[in-house]
Symmetry: C2
Subunit: 362 residues, 2 copies
């Protein structure tokens, strides 16, 4: 296989038989049919992913990939580039939002340097390094990275997910850190959804409206300069993407290949999902959308993927914070599925049909 081609990524569909068996069990539980709403769908999805009648979410992982972006030279971010390395140090020392949330829900965290530009201060012994460059090139006048790098970072992500699955991971939540990466995510979303840059480009970490319009113009220039095609997702990643986005797209593909639920975070990890789904459409069956970001392109991207977020809290932090916040809800869905009594077990009467009440099903 050539270095500049990923080759085909084969992903099995989730088990329809187990989804149907799970649906049937849901209708026997002591509640009006369908009244647990999307919790029922999540339980059925996990049953289908895990090919089991007893889905379980025990071993939980969070992958946070960090990288830098040459496009910050265009003045698209509210924060200086040094913040990427500083925040990686903050992840490693346990002071960041994702650190707090992962401790709460009992998830293990892998922090990945996928291409951070500045030296990372402090103890980096727990850092996973998959670094092909110190960030992308400014993609307004040429590709963000060589195509070989795009292929390689996708492979690194796939391998990381496979390793986690082999160690027993039941769930992988993904997130990112990278000053400037909402610009890359906007560019990817614009191309993959065939939407104008202005429609999908948001305020990132907190730029004003004038800067947002400048950022949308930067995205337009990048697309014009590189002419990426939605039909070539590896090319999209190489020309207007980012290393952390590529790593996360790989994690999604690797998770799907090894039958593991992947929980997306916000706008940027969803742009990685757009790349992954274009490489292997069945990957979407393994995805769960966690929260609805305030980034304007996010809902458009989720709709494109056929996903609906669980939580709506006006968040826009990234670093997997929304994904980790959703883990207890996934656990709830699975526990309800396994632990609730059936109508028969609890001797609770069923729904009355017109004029013909069912007797107690005991």
């Amino acid at each position: 296989m050539s270095e500049s081609s990923l080759g085909s990524v084969e992903i099995d569909p989730i088990s329809v038989a187990h989804v149907e068996a799970a649906r049937s069990r849901q209708s026997s539980l002591t509640k009006p049919a369908g009244s647990l709403g999307r919790l029922e769908d999540i339980a059925c999805q996990v049953a289908g992913i895990q090919h089991t009648d007893n889905p379980a979410i025990v071993d939980k992982w969070v992958v946070v990939a960090a990288a830098d972006h040459g496009v910050v030279d265009e003045g698209v971010s509210a924060f200086p580039q040094t913040v990427t390395a500083q925040m990686v140090a903050n992840f490693l020392s346990g002071g960041a939002a994702v650190s707090v949330l992962a401790r709460q829900v009992g998830a293990n965290v892998k922090i990945v340097d996928a291409g951070v530009a500045h030296p990372i201060p402090g103890d980096t012994s727990d850092l996973v390094v998959c670094k092909l460059a110190e960030g992308t090139n400014n993609f307004t006048d040429g590709p963000a990275m060589p195509r070989e790098h795009a292929v390689e970072i996708l492979r690194e992500g796939m391998q990381l997910a496979k390793n986690l699955s082999q160690q027993g991971a039941d769930l992988i939540a993904i997130g990112e850190m990278g000053i400037g990466n909402t610009t890359a995510a906007s560019a990817i979303t614009s191309v993959m959804l065939d939407q104008p840059p202005k429609t999908v480009t948001g305020h990132g970490t907190g730029i004003d409206e004038v800067t947002r319009l400048k950022k949308a113009y930067v995205v337009s220039r990048a697309i014009t300069a590189n002419a990426p095609q939605a039909t070539d997702p590896v090319g999209v990643l190489a020309t207007i993407g980012g290393y952390e986005i590529g790593l996360l797209a790989g994690v999604i593909l690797g998770g799907a290949k090894t039958r593991t639920l992947v929980v997306l975070d916000g706008f940027i990890s969803t742009s990685a999902a757009l790349i992954a789904a274009a490489i292997a459409p069945k990957a979407t069956q393994y995805m769960l959308a966690s929260h609805k970001s305030v980034e304007r392109g996010h809902m458009l991207a989720l709709t494109h993927l056929g996903l609906r977020p669980v939580i709506d809290l006006d968040m826009r932090l990234g670093e997997a914070s929304g994904a980790v916040l959703t883990i207890p809800i996934v656990e709830s869905a699975v526990r309800l599925h396994n632990e609730m009594a059936t109508f028969e077990e609890a001797q609770v009467s069923g729904k009355e049909e017109a004029g013909n009440p069912e007797s107690v099903r005991s």
Copy 2:
């Protein structure tokens, strides 16, 4: 004080000073300002409720009140009335959705018989009994309960919440069970919001559209027969309410009086919140809306109260399931507030102001 008057219920506002101190701390944490969205608001609200710089959610309680409704004689529900008692038994034996969720999040559960019509099977030693009648009268041709009962059940609820708070409760999640109670909730919502019955009456546990319209007509008849006034919330509860709704309205008032966060569940517990807020408007400062129910009147009622739900999962189960599902998110909000590093602690650079990047704040 007369038996037919509740008297005035004095509730202190939450501490503005502590809310402001919490806001200030939020802006010092290592994240773009405001990027944790409503998690920040929740942390600030809890700080204000608890009058502290270190809000905590440790001792968590769930109150599920059950009662029956004479209006089921009109054919407004998909389930027979015996299900109320059967589900109370299911709560007590740990097989219901709320039982599973409370175990998951480490919350204690109080199941209250506020007026169940049928005998409750099995071991009822853990049941709290606050029963003034075996359910309401059919309110289509007269009041649901004597006014004295409405006052008494509100007092019972207030006392229950005070007892929990005195034992150390940091949070009380509320929910209900009662075949027919979406009809009472629809009637309350219609009167308190001054909206037509058809607008606020939904499908309950799963009736079809024809039955829904019949149910809306039943609500209209009840309102015509009793002429309840929104300015007399105790009268609304007495004429078109229910015992479990009254108990929960009391729990809300008692929680607010003792500075405890009260997490609402869906449509029915929100109808209790409408009664509580009309009795003591400051009670809304102690409320958190958990999920957005598919019941059509729910969002209207939340908007009336100035509340916004956290979760949107198409649920319509009741029994505090949505409220308990939200507890980990409240815990996340508080933990993030207490445990995240500040920019200074983590030596992370702040936001760049136009042309004037802040230096690393170390």
